[in-house]
Symmetry: C3
Subunit: 147 residues, 3 copies
C-alpha cells in the first residue's frame, strides 16, 4: 500500500485542493505552450523531475527547461500538439507545510489533420512547497502505466 | 505568450475556482443531454460562441440553442453519445468582477455497441459574468488542436 | 430532464465541491490499486453499487469488496492497468445533509507495453452521506454510454 493511498489520512482542506488545481492548470498550460523558462520556474531551484521512463531524474531548473525546449521542438517538427491532463487529485498535508499530492496524468496527442489519442497514462506524486506565496514543485515522480 | 497563460497573474481564489467547476459541470450535463434552451440560458442574452472550426461565431441565445438542437438531432440519428470534458481549468479575475478562464476541453464519442474515442481535443477561453448570483458565459472561444 | 441536471438547483458550495473531489480521488486510487477492503469501506455498510452493465446491484461492503478483488485478479492476469477518471462533477445538497452528485467517469485501460485506450465512458450518480466526518457512498448508479 502506497503511503499516499488512504482515506483516513488528513486532507489538506478544500481551499488547498482548489489552489493546487489552479496551480497545476497554469503549469500545464505553460508546458503545452512550450514556455520552458516559465515552466522551470514552477519548480524549486533544485527541483527534481523523475520518471520511470528515464534512467536518471532531471535536476534543477536549467535542465528542466532544456528538456521542455527539446520536447517542444520535436513536437513542432512532427506537427503534433500535446495536452497534459491531470485528474483524481488527492492532496495530503505534511506538518511542515509541504503538500504531498497524488494524481493521474494523461498526455493527449493530436496530429494536425488527425485524431486525438491518449499518448500516455501515468500516475504522479509531487512534493509541493510554498515559496513567497506561490506553490513550487520540489519533486515530481511520474510512473507510466505501460512500462 | 497568451495573455491567459501565467503563473504570476492573480488567481481568483479557491472558492471561485470550485464554483466555476460546478457551473461548467452543470452546463456540460445540459448540452450532452440535449437541453438546448437550458444550455442557451447559461450564456448572456448576447453571448458569443466562437470556434476555429466555424467560419462565423454563433451569437445570441436563440442561435446558440438552435446549434445544440441540430447537433443533438444528428447524434441521435447516428446512434452516438457525446460527453464534453473540461480539465486543467485556470481562473483569472478581472477588476470589474468578470472572470477569464482557460481550460482544455475534450469531446468523447461513444457509439451504441462500440468503443469510446476522443473525438475532439480543444483549448477554450471564456469570459464569465455573474448575473443575479449565477455565472453566465459572455464569450467562449474554442480552438481545436487538429486544425 | 433528469432531476440532477439543472443550473437553478442549489449548489453545495465550493468547499463541498472540493471535498467531494478529494474523496473521489482517494476512492479511485484505492480501487485502481486493488485495495478492496479500503474501497468497500468508502461505502456505507449497506451501500449499493448499481450499473446498467449488470443485471443486479451489488449490495453491502462484503460483496463490493469481493467484486473489486475479482476484477483486480483479472486485470493482473491480463497484464493491464485500469484508471478510473471522474470529471464534470456537479454536487447537489439535500436538506438532510445528503449530497447527490452527477459526474462522468472514464475507465482508461493500458496494457503493459501497449497504448492506453478509453475502455468505458459512463455517467454516474451518487448519494453521499457524512459518517463521523467522512463521506461515504450510500448508492452509486453507473450508466455506460455504449449500452
Amino acid at each position: 500500500v502506497s503511503a499516499t493511498v488512504g482515506i483516513d489520512q488528513a486532507t489538506a482542506g478544500p481551499q488547498l485542493h482548489a489552489e493546487v488545481q489552479d496551480f497545476y492548470a497554469r503549469q500545464m498550460h505553460m508546458i503545452d505552450s512550450g514556455h520552458a523558462e516559465a515552466w522551470a520556474a514552477t519548480f524549486t531551484e533544485d527541483g527534481i523531475f523523475a520518471a520511470n521512463a528515464y534512467p536518471q531524474p532531471t535536476v534543477g531548473r536549467a535542465a528542466i527547461a532544456q528538456a521542455v525546449r527539446a520536447t517542444a521542438a520535436q513536437l513542432t517538427a512532427e506537427g503534433v500538439v500535446h495536452r497534459h491532463w491531470f485528474g483524481m487529485l488527492a492532496v495530503y498535508p505534511e506538518n511542515d507545510g509541504t503538500l504531498r499530492t497524488r494524481y493521474y496524468a494523461l498526455v493527449i496527442r493530436t496530429p494536425k489533420g488527425g485524431q486525438p489519442v491518449i499518448h500516455r497514462c501515468t500516475v504522479a506524486e509531487d512534493e509541493l512547497v510554498r515559496q513567497q506565496g506561490v506553490w513550487q514543485v520540489r519533486r515530481r515522480n511520474v510512473t507510466r502505466d505501460d512500462l
